[in-house]
């Protein structure tokens, strides 16, 4: 299947899930950022350029489903994806816990940046008193869904990208 057809399918499926079941999966009103997670994973698996394109469209889809001004999320998500992609090499051989922490940090940063940009554009949509708490809880909750989603995003965005080659050095443990 063509890569962009895969991306389209993934985004529509994610939009349906984000606006149905994930509206209910909340702890004290704070929920999962499924589309932000797709952006992060697309940067991780697809590289900076493909990640940026996928994230842009992911942001637009999120703008549509949460009825925010069109472009707010699309402005932030590509930057997050490119940043994640640039850090990917440092994280790829790290322990699972460290990678999970990286994802949680990226989600929290995305939530905070979206709130900041929204505020600049006069959208007082976040509860500013609970914003840090929201960012942390959303980061942790979203990270819980990263493992199953990672394989799907990898299949979606890494079509045509050369597979990674693992190198072994004599005497090394890896």
């Amino acid at each position: 299947m063509n890569t962009w057809l895969r991306v389209l399918t993934l985004l529509i499926a994610a939009a349906i899930l984000q606006s149905s079941i994930f509206t209910e999966i909340r702890i004290d009103g704070m929920g999962v950022e499924l589309l932000l997670l797709i952006s992060i994973l697309s940067g991780y698996h697809g590289g900076p350029i493909r990640g940026a394109y996928v994230s842009f469209w992911t942001g637009l889809v999120n703008d549509c489903i949460v009825a925010s001004p069109l472009g707010i999320h699309a402005l932030i998500y590509p930057a997050i994806a490119v940043a994640v992609s640039n850090l990917e090499e440092r994280f790829i051989n790290e322990k699972r816990v460290i990678r999970a922490f990286g994802i949680a940090l990226a989600v929290s940063t995305g939530v905070l940046l979206t709130a900041g940009v929204g505020h600049i554009f006069g959208e007082a949509t976040f509860n500013t008193t609970s914003l840090p708490e929201t960012a942390i809880v959303a980061g942790v909750m979203t990270t819980l869904f990263s493992k199953p989603l990672s394989s799907i995003v990898k299949w979606t965005v890494s079509n045509g990208i050369p597979r990674e080659v693992k190198t072994h050095f004599a005497g090394s443990k890896r």
Binding site: S20, I25, Y53, A67, S68, P69, P78, A124, T129
Partner: protein
């Protein structure tokens, strides 16, 4: 060989950010196709959402059972207290009823006669972007329009922020961008109240005289006029009249409608003139 500009991540990122900013500008300049695009997308996925909602209903129930158990218990207790209170009210004598009738007459509340559409709350938008916003199961197909006032029998709730074909988003009165013209029933002073993000509270800090006589418990209603809300819809009661203010008063109003425990709402269809 030199890299093409489209192969450079920074160039791609800048182009995409410029595109996003262009879309934002188009949106804020009320370039209609942008709004229509968003509404169209939501309308297209709406049937699939309903199917996904039904299919995952057992999972949602389990989740709510685990993480909202205390909330459900509190809600049960609140409802039990409410039932007891209503039973007590039923048993009140005729004198009390007369007094109640007189008080309602003073406030001149006839908002229950407004033509409304009853809507059920289906949830909140996904993610964390929209706080103080809820989604209802009625839209343009039911005659709803953007900006229509939303009330319950207890009073003001908010207004329709986005209206799709079969669903709408309600911006609650506690939303920081919410504004409503209000009138203090005893003093007849009028001002502009706003949400400030605090649950159940409105702040009246514009248009009110520094020397206005405001008492705790005073009833506040909508003032009507050019507002999207018809006049005399109960808003709440004053809980802090800010009597010690030197320059600008900031009166705190406790909303009469409990926004935390809503199930059904009334969307006003007619916006009557004063």
């Amino acid at each position: 060989m030199a890299k093409r500009s489209s192969d450079r991540p920074r160039v791609v990122l800048l182009v995409l950010m410029a595109a996003a900013l262009t879309l934002l500008t188009a949106q804020f300049r009320n370039f209609l196709p942008v709004d229509d695009f968003q509404q169209g997308f939501r309308d297209v996925i709406s049937p699939f959402r309903k199917v996904a909602d039904r299919a995952t209903d057992p999972f949602q129930t389990v989740w709510n059972g685990i993480f909202n158990y205390e909330k459900v218990n509190e809600e049960n207790e609140r409802l039990q207290v409410e039932i007891a209170r209503m039973r007590g009210e039923e048993l009140r004598n005729e004198a009390d009823r007369e007094l109640l009738g007189r008080l309602l007459g003073e406030v001149d509340i006839d908002y229950l006669e407004l033509e409304t559409v009853v809507a059920r709350i289906v949830g909140v938008p996904g993610g964390n972007y929209n706080s103080h916003v809820i989604e209802i199961n009625k839209g343009t197909d039911d005659g709803l329009k953007e900006g229509a006032g939303v009330i319950t029998k207890a009073g003001l709730v908010g207004y329709l922020h986005e209206v799709d074909r079969s669903t709408s988003l309600v911006r609650l009165a506690t939303h920081p961008d919410f504004r409503v013209g209000v009138r203090l029933v005893n003093s007849q002073d009028e001002g502009l109240a706003r949400g400030n993000g605090s649950p159940g509270l409105l702040i009246l800090d514009a248009g009110i005289n520094i020397d206005a006589e405001v008492s705790i418990g005073e009833v506040v209603v909508t003032s009507g006029g050019r507002s999207i809300f018809p006049q005399d819809i109960p808003v709440g009661r004053v809980i802090d009249p800010d009597l010690e203010a030197d320059y600008a008063r900031s009166i705190v109003i406790d909303l009469s409608a409990s926004l935390e425990n809503l199930s059904f709402l009334n969307v006003i269809l007619d916006s009557r003139e004063n």
